[in-house]
Amino acid sequence: MELAALWKNPFPASVPSEKMEVSFLSSVTVFTPLTDRQKRKVLSILHTRTFEPGEIIFRKGDPGVGMYVIRSGQVDVYNEYPDFTKTRIISLSSGDFFGEIALLNDSPRSATVVATVGSTLLGLFRHDLLSLMDSDPVLGMKLVYRLAQIVSERLRLTNCSGD
């Protein structure tokens, strides 16, 4: 930790360049159906995390509590096997997202994700989504419906690739 962090205000008054962040969310498939006001609301419940190159974001089997959107950087998604081997499934970059299954149920993570370069991720977590559904049901329903569409589409693609 840098020494300057000791006297730096850890609670900045506002999120830097909110407009830029809203326009970024417009490029992410999950958030495209939302209005700008709704995107700002979603932005207020997202957690920004930065990862070093080679840092594990989560491992297969970890308890999952939410999904991540890649704001900048690149990550690799791996499957791990009991015979001490791993397979790189896919590489994801800015605008992509992963871990969305954990938003819909509390099953363990189904893959391992590692940052390949220094990356900034935006985390959307299950409890925040549930609170959002309580406080703003219209926005919550829009978001969950979009997530269900994406998950079912990915399931369909997985089934097709298996044929």
């Binding site: 850890p10 609670f11 957690h47 995390r49 491992r59 939410g66 001490f84 791993k86 703003d136």
Partner: protein, 362 residues
């Protein structure tokens, strides 16, 4: 259980216990902030309600703050004269109350004297139950000496609480996010999960307590008013609040009502009526209210609850008795999540795993 898990739990348990001891030792320092957080938690749904209707965060906070504390100020303006009148009434009847109370104590002494073990007790502690004017004067003097410090503590408390509540309402989200940002990536999701579960449980406990206090206060006040006891509302609210202390609380409520009956010189049948009222309230509380509202907040064995109340009493007096069960209820969540994290079986190092398949780019 693995040695590493046991060691991890022992270290965590020790640190956590030290933290709790510090909290109980310096609870006076934390009390205004705890009360402010409870108030913030109670007002949060209204804040969300206003924000969802397009009201800006600052306006919503100001609206809530002004209506609650302004309303409280107006209420006090009307309430203080009423309380003052009540005290004037008590003051004018103080002599009667003292005589009633003295004769009650003397009757106890006579009963105790008539028994063999009682005469032993009297030899060693007769002053305790001899209500001479000197004794009563000493007590009044001691209480009067404490009044300035009590008033200054109270003034400090009521000036800190609105201030801290305002900033919790205004900045809680930022503070929470700022603190979460400091958590290392490795533990981030665990801490987030822990905080959410604690918030959920805290909500259950708070709502359960508020509901229980309101219902028990109303029922007790109604019952005491029906049997004709003086000051039914004050005793009812006192009984409702003391009812939050498991097992000991209802007894304290009964004793409060008995004290009023003694001072106002009510007949013996009044004591039976008081017992019947509190018995009926307790039946309702234990069969309807507690299972309905408290089932989610505490899932502890009655013996464990009793033990906790005793430990709380030893560590923090009445405050400790109030806080013991909620603190343990929240601690059980912390330990459950920490245990599941510590006891997870070891996994091979990810970077030592052999990669066996080609990359498929998005």
């Amino acid at each position: 259980m693995r040695q590493k898990t046991v060691l991890g739990l022992a270290v965590f348990g020790t640190c956590y216990s030290l933290l709790l001891v510090c909290f109980f030792l310096f609870w006076k320092l934390f009390a205004p902030f705890l009360v402010s957080y409870v108030l913030f938690f109670a007002f949060k749904p209204f804040l969300q309600f206003l924000e969802n209707r397009g009201v800006s965060h600052l306006t919503a906070v100001l609206l809530i703050f002004i209506s609650v504390f302004g309303g409280l100020g107006v209420f006090l303006l009307f309430f203080i004269p009423a309380v003052y009148n009540e005290f004037l009434h008590i003051n004018s009847n103080l002599e009667t109350y003292t005589v009633s109370f003295s004769s009650f104590l003397l009757s106890i002494r006579d009963t105790v004297t008539s028994s063999t073990s009682g005469s032993f007790l009297l030899r060693h502690g007769s002053n305790l139950i001899t209500p001479t004017p000197e004794n009563v004067g000493g007590i009044v003097h001691a209480v009067a000496q404490k009044i300035p410090s009590l008033v200054s503590s109270f003034l400090l408390f009521i000036s800190v609480v609105p201030f801290a509540t305002f900033f919790f309402l205004l900045d809680a989200r930022r503070i929470e996010r700022g603190l979460i940002r400091l958590v290392p990536n490795r533990y981030f999701e665990v801490v987030l999960d822990l905080l959410y579960n604690l918030e959920l449980q805290f909500g259950y406990i708070l709502r359960g307590m508020l509901f229980s206090v309101t219902i028990v206060s109303l029922l007790s006040s109604l019952g005491l008013w029906m049997i004709g006891l003086d000051y039914p509302l004050i005793i009812g609210v006192f009984a409702g609040i003391s009812n939050l202390i498991p097992y000991a609380g209802p007894v304290v409520g009964v004793l409060g009502a008995f004290a009023v009956a003694v001072m106002t010189g009510d007949p013996g049948s009044m004591y039976v009526s008081i017992l019947v009222v509190f018995f009926l309230v307790q039946i309702l509380d234990n069969t309807v209210i507690q299972p309905l509202v408290m089932s989610k907040s505490t899932n502890l064995h009655p013996m464990a609850v009793l033990l906790l109340v005793l430990i709380g009493s030893a560590m923090g007096g009445v405050t400790g008795m109030f806080l013991a069960v909620p603190v343990v209820s929240l601690s059980s969540i912390i330990f459950r999540i920490v245990y599941s994290e510590i006891s997870r079986p070891p996994r091979p190092d990810f970077f030592q795993l052999k990669e066996v398949q080609a990359v498929r780019h998005s």
